[in-house]
Symmetry: C2
Subunit: 718 residues, 2 copies
Amino acid sequence: MTDRKVLDGNSAAAHVAYRVNDVCAIYPITPSSPMAELADQWSAEGRTNIWGDVPQVVEMQSEGGAAGAIHGALQGGALTTTFTASQGLLLMMPNMYKIAGELTPAVFHVAARSLAAQGLSIFGDHQDVMAVRTTGFAQLCSASVQMAHDFALIAQAATLESRVPFIHFFDGFRTSHELNKIEMLSDSQIRSMIDLEQVLAHRRRALNPNHPVIRGTAQNPDVYFQARETVNPFYANLAGIVSDKMAQLEKLTGRGYRLFDYFGAPDAERVIVIMGSGAETARETVEYLNDADDPVGVVRVNLFRPFDGTALLNALPETARSIAVLDRTKEPGAPCDPLHADVLAAIADSPEWQRRAPRVVGGRYGLSSKEFTPAMVKAVLDELDRKAPRNRFTIGIRDDVSGTSLDYDPTFRTESEDVLRAVFYGLGADGTVGANKNSIKILGEDPSREVQAYFVYDSKKSGSRTVSHLRFGPRPIRSAYLVDSAGFVGCHKFDFLSQIDVLGVAAPGATLLLNSPHAADEVWDKLPRKVQEEIIDKDLSVHVIDAGAVAREAGLGGRTNTIMQTCFFALSGVLPKADAIQRIKQSITATYGAKGEEVVARNHAAVDQTLAHLKPVKIPAKAYGKVAMSDPVPAEAPEFVRSVTGLMLAGRGDELPVSALPVDGTWPSGTTRWEKRGIAEFVPEWDPELCIQCGNCVMVCPHAVIRSKLVPESSLAE
Amino acid sequence: MTDRKVLDGNSAAAHVAYRVNDVCAIYPITPSSPMAELADQWSAEGRTNIWGDVPQVVEMQSEGGAAGAIHGALQGGALTTTFTASQGLLLMMPNMYKIAGELTPAVFHVAARSLAAQGLSIFGDHQDVMAVRTTGFAQLCSASVQMAHDFALIAQAATLESRVPFIHFFDGFRTSHELNKIEMLSDSQIRSMIDLEQVLAHRRRALNPNHPVIRGTAQNPDVYFQARETVNPFYANLAGIVSDKMAQLEKLTGRGYRLFDYFGAPDAERVIVIMGSGAETARETVEYLNDADDPVGVVRVNLFRPFDGTALLNALPETARSIAVLDRTKEPGAPCDPLHADVLAAIADSPEWQRRAPRVVGGRYGLSSKEFTPAMVKAVLDELDRKAPRNRFTIGIRDDVSGTSLDYDPTFRTESEDVLRAVFYGLGADGTVGANKNSIKILGEDPSREVQAYFVYDSKKSGSRTVSHLRFGPRPIRSAYLVDSAGFVGCHKFDFLSQIDVLGVAAPGATLLLNSPHAADEVWDKLPRKVQEEIIDKDLSVHVIDAGAVAREAGLGGRTNTIMQTCFFALSGVLPKADAIQRIKQSITATYGAKGEEVVARNHAAVDQTLAHLKPVKIPAKAYGKVAMSDPVPAEAPEFVRSVTGLMLAGRGDELPVSALPVDGTWPSGTTRWEKRGIAEFVPEWDPELCIQCGNCVMVCPHAVIRSKLVPESSLAE
């Protein structure tokens, strides 16, 4: 029986990478850090790889050092890997040229991330992997958590056979941090994909004083060029080797992949070519449109380097007459973005396709984890239907500066009715994310239920907002975008209701669970008018609980997570209530067992008390509240802070058009003072009787509101 | 009157860069080092820039540090530059994305160099600049020394107006180290190209505590994408700005450039597109063929980024039906090399050119300063005439592995009769290169004479071979390749005749000047049979001098350079003899004046004595010598050393086919012992009477031939 688990992309890739390597040289960088940290932890725990050895994990002082360590370990005959992203990957480039030039098998696992340009971003796009496409590394792209697992193995098998090093990458955050239910590769499956003879061949090529050779020589104009061309056959064979490994994996697991996977109508005239998680969204959209008799299609690029143009054209339906190539990167000054250029080259190579002369346009999407939704896919396909589709467009933003952006209809949705969608708003470190991960695992245990979870953090971490996006359904969930139409909305902090548009994601008829200091019969008056209107308009059913009070009563302090989790199970009906409560309790026992019986007992008690405190709210027929939404920044703030920073604080930064942003990353300073997050439930008060004048309050106040002055006692006299 | 000077590309670029910057943050790397070193020297000497300030030159601890210093200085409002190449440029990438993203005017001057892959190479190609084409820097390419001078200024003027940073690059060694006669930009011309208002605007944008702003913030999915698109108009305007600056320079100097310069027949059907020094060779070849009524053409790419496809197509003659795009780089796994991809994209964008449907193929040439000659250009143009020209070919090597290489006829030459060509073989550090640089400057003083010199060193530096390639003629010299048909050959070391094919470069009827320990009437018997045959077959006139003896007699020790230089002037007839001798003496006075009158007098005496010792050799009608060419390595050396290393030592490494080279940069070790360079004129002998047993001989013997043993005196008794 297949082992199925709920994992994120990082864990899925690291699981395989750890099993097939001897050395991991790391310098963790977001969003790849969990891969490195897991490897480090497993090594510390003494977990073994498929050969029964404990891989050695070495943390260096930068990615440059990690790349040097990798190169050295590989030359010593060790199977070696690393995990990296963004500028970290750039620092590895000098070594990457050498590792590839020396035909050294290795796989770098990359959670692809933006590069710092006008600003840094820890989020995902393909700028980093595109920047190293010149190095001679093969590049295999996973579009989902399952693929991150499978392709980690295919890359390793292919690098050993081909001797060409691989970058195996997937979208930072969107795939690296998405929880999804995948079929695990067993160690015996992994073993049967790795040819031991090829491992031994790698070890035999190691530098060894017993049979010395020299590598890394200087070459002059007389021979360098010829020597550089020696590798051609290795690259020419590579696509075939990757195909073979994919076929072998399919035989073992039933999961089939090709260099380019086509999804959609066999007679599609309009086709999207795309790589990474966006391909999953495009596939979902195309299949939805196919069901509505719209013959469109999508090519998912799996092997980006070496780029096999013939395989791409074979994947395309012959009927394709209008093609949009979507790149998740930007190279200012280039005539087109890289995948677009490759598709043009493939067509230029084929007399047959030259004759067919499809129109090929390029578009850019999803920089820095910008959402890429079915509505956007639809807009691109619609554009392809126009007589002269725009070229070099952007999708997902409003570009009022260069006019590149396509419009899209955000109400277009493809998600199936039988997929349960839930969104939870929590406060960073309040336990909401952990509770949701736990819920997903509980629900994922049911073999017939597929699950997905994705968590949006802002960069302020502890104390900021977290938004959890959960999906459950009967079929694999490929929606690589946020939930924007949820049947269940949990708001774990009451104040959010007046700060941001919590109910924007609520579907008509949805359930709203509110952690509220106000009782069910009092809460309505406390809601902002806009929220009241939304509740009535969307016909939401609202339930409240004062989770803080329940937690305090149960002796849990401020930890409200199990209480809110219990409410979710009680209200959502995704599991029978009794069953759900039992499973929550089991999971509490497992999670808190180490902290002693009393902690477990308190949590169990909290679960039991929860249902008694969860109350429905009676919804009036008309909104009549006097409470207004609070402004994210005060009216006296400067114009830029009000119109740009303020919108971002309100969670509406996506609405900002290009013209609103500074051209060169220059921002006004001193804007923190306009941002009052108001997250404290209690405001501390200075008690002169108790103060020992230690001065710590001055040190810790993040906004420097408390200031100390040192004065001679004599001055105080006056 | 225009100031004309003989300069190399590095000096030509550095001259401008130094004048228009406040700060140079450097970490010198071959072949860009002279730029950094000149700037450092000028700064130490207190030379000022065009604003009367002495630029500050800061040497950091790596190119990564230099890039950080540049970024910081630019943010402080200083006009800042650097000079770099190869892996050094790669280390700057993380900062380059930021410098470009923040729209910071700056020019990096790059002597483009290979990247270390299967081996490192200090020589020239475009791998480094192509690896950073993703960063958002503009890229302006100089194809000649004059252009390196002019484009350094155009880049600076354009970056200040556009705010987009520039890489200004030219071919490492081929342009950076080629001496050519150029028209110097005067300070007033430089001043009139630099808009002071734009300099002040840059300074006003500096980070300044008096009007604080913040740059380098973190941006999240809500705004990063929009912010990344804000720069589009700056890139859209850039080609126009560069065009304007080119027009302004033409107005000032008469030297006209466009984004893409076309040379050749207005009705050419076959056209080459190429960038860098190879374009000069292609231009020379095309013009030669045009003279023979062959309507071919070449597009020289000047502005590579942003790539203005429309301007490229406008430069192409409408008649072009077969186009070869030549790249001087390699990206294993890419569907085409970068310039090739850009041309395909330009054509795909133009319905008109799509209709014309020219055949576009790509080729690779000149990696690591591999020669690119008119014969190769001709071969490419011939290939374009075939019904199905090959695509992704290589030219300049024999690829017997992947079969990519085009054949070419090495006897095809385009050089004019009125260009005097001379080749000199010297021993590293024997003064040959210095003397030739001096000769070039003497000859360049004549306003009607154009000059060019290029020096081939191997990487062993002192004690190895240097080959000087000199050209003199009435028109600008664009031959960006080595002399292979010289009217004058100087062999400054007798042994070379039996080690390498010195006379391979001699044109029929050429003059051979030989530094020979054997007198004119004895030397013939000492020549290898093969050399005798070549002298007779090519009808060479041979002259000998024992320069070592003359030098010792004149009290110059082993310094033979002025003696050989005098012989060259005496034999070549390039200047009237008396005139030449006077100028050599003047130059001796200038060069050695600081070392005292006696040194000057000795050198002058050596010049006077030279002509008396220079003797013609009577050439018999038939070769009858018994001396054989010496084998570069002994017959008992291993097969690889004989067939690969040996050929390289014999200066014939260019003949090695791809199959001869290791695929992964693995070479046998311990091969030094097979390489007997035999460069010592005297073999030292151990004199037990004089030996004080200091052991120094053991320390300094590079081959560890002299070994010491420490034994108790008692052991010696037996």
